[in-house]
């Protein structure tokens, strides 16, 4: 397909117009999306004392798990044969 300078200029102008049109439509689409679905900041973190209590409960579970596994190995029993429900300081 032979081409002339004038045809090339016409194709270029038409194509640039199409590209800008498509992308301007896309800009408005994105702006509409952002407006319809606004950003919501994530909830504030739990206060430190509550998290300390939660972590102490979590650490007791870990202690129970560690003691259970140690007893299992020492006694040669299956973990299902006994159950530790609580530990407390004497």
């Amino acid at each position: 397909m032979e081409a002339s300078f004038l045809e090339a200029v016409k194709v270029s102008l038409l194509s640039i117009t199409v590209i800008f049109t498509v992308l301007i439509i896309l800009i408005f689409t994105i702006k509409l999306l952002v407006k319809m679905i606004p950003y919501v900041a994530p909830p504030a973190k739990v206060p430190h004392q509550q998290s300390t209590a939660q972590s102490s409960i979590g650490s007791q579970d870990e202690h129970i798990a560690a003691i259970s596994s140690t007893l299992t190995m020492h006694l040669g029993k299956s973990p299902d044969e006994f159950r530790i429900v609580n530990i407390s300081k004497l």
Binding site: V9, S12, V18, I19, V22, I27, I30, K31, L33, V34
Partner: protein, 411 residues
């Protein structure tokens, strides 16, 4: 069967590659070695130039059956992925999985910078026509200005497959040279005061928007330009893998293993098309010059539009981010950051430049879609099945096609 030592020895000697090595082939072997040197020691886009260079080496070894046109050869099979437009969209799948569109969503007007950078494509198209290329060839050459390798290969394989090799090599070579080509143009077109402009922090974007965005873009753009669907659709699918949060394995595969495998196949296929017949032509030199023109004008177009946006927004947009509208992600954004920090070391433009940078990926895909809409039905048709086995791929142009058929018909 009589065994003659001299006849057998002659047969062995004449069947070696050395006896079939021609000047053009030797020159292409040197070109391949130069590409390997640039990739390994100068680190010019090594992930692409190394396999392209090695593919070129393999294709130009005589009697190796490794050129893209050698039916039944290994690289001929790889080349089918290019010829049938399979590999470039798969690369875009990986690119989408790697891309964060957050900066673009936070400032969607930077899409205009991605559009403005495409002016390099069309100025180059006009230049190519003036240098004697037809409209299909000029379109394939012009798309180098989009600074997008897969898009360049996609369009070249569709509109001008005989120019695929020089176009691909020019596109990837200039992408590697972005840090050298862009800064002088950026400094020439902007003032010190403009380079020091600090932009406001980007607004945060909801994750839901990031999930809906790829679906909406696919529907909106592909309805307007159906020809862009393979590229843009795969880009957005990859991005959806990334943002949806429910396809972690697919995301990881797309951004690592898939893109690496497809890169190897694509680059080898492109390298296999760099035969002496297709590469050592005057058109190759013209394409290399036009490619540089395309990149330079794309950069200038983006920066000049950035200046317009700066004026219209009362100085809230730094024009340097306009140069990132070329699709070389994230190198072009890094260049904007570097030039901006040279003017003011406390100015951080990287995230602001990422918006136009990823917009350039969409812009170059849209530019490709426009070419397909305009010229897709005029592309070189597949040769008739009965002729394909005789003459292979028919080059465009009546004169060359007749010469090709006549040559194939000779005893």
């Amino acid at each position: 069967m009589e065994f003659s030592f001299s006849a057998s020895a002659t047969k062995i000697i004449t069947s070696t590659g050395f006896s079939n090595l021609e000047a053009g082939g030797m020159l292409m072997l040197v070109v391949a070695c130069v590409m390997l040197y640039l990739a390994i020691w100068k680190k010019f886009e090594p992930l692409l130039l190394l396999p392209i260079g090695f593919g070129c080496l393999l294709a130009n070894l005589p009697m190796s059956m490794m050129a893209n046109t050698d039916a039944g050869g290994l690289l001929n099979f790889f080349y089918q992925g290019v010829k049938h437009e399979i590999l470039p969209p798969l690369i875009f799948l990986g690119v989408g999985a790697l891309t964060d569109f957050g900066p673009l969503l936070a400032n969607p007007t930077t899409l205009l910078l991605g559009a403005a950078a495409q002016v390099g494509v069309y100025i180059t198209l006009i230049g190519a026509v003036m240098l004697g290329f037809n409209m299909l060839e000029a379109s394939a050459i012009g798309i180098i200005g989009g600074a997008d390798g897969p898009t360049s290969i996609f369009i070249a394989s569709k509109l001008a497959p005989h120019l695929l090799a020089p176009i691909a090599v020019a596109a990837y070579s200039y992408m590697a040279l972005v840090p050298l080509i862009q800064p002088p143009i950026m400094k020439l077109l902007t003032t010190e005061k403009e380079r020091k402009i600090k932009m406001a922090q980007l607004q945060p974007i909801s994750q839901t928007v990031k999930i809906v965005f790829p679906v909406v873009v696919t529907i909106v753009c592909c309805l307007m330009l159906p020809g862009v669907t393979p590229l843009l659709g795969m880009l957005m699918l990859g991005n959806l893998f990334r943002e949806s949060g429910v396809t972690a394995r697919l995301h990881e595969t797309a951004q690592t293993h898939l893109i690496n495998i497809v890169t190897i196949l694509l680059a080898l296929a492109v390298g296999s098309s760099m035969t002496a017949e297709s590469f050592l032509r005057v058109e190759t030199l013209k394409i290399i010059v036009l490619g540089l023109l395309a990149f330079s004008i794309a950069t200038a177009g983006g920066v000049l539009f950035g200046k317009i946006m700066c004026k219209l927004t009362g100085g809230r947009v730094n024009p340097l981010i306009g140069s990132a509208g070329v699709s070389a992600v994230p190198m072009a954004a890094r260049v904007s950051q570097k030039v901006g920090s040279e003017a003011d070391s406390s100015n951080f433009l990287l995230m602001h430049a990422m918006g136009p940078n990823v917009a350039g990926v969409i812009g170059s895909a849209v530019a490709a879609g426009v070419f397909i809409s305009l010229f897709g039905d005029m592309a070189v048709p597949e040769p008739h099945a009965a002729l394909e086995g005789i003459i292979g791929t028919v080059e465009p142009g009546l004169t060359s096609a007749i010469a090709q058929v006549a040559g194939a018909m000779q005893p």
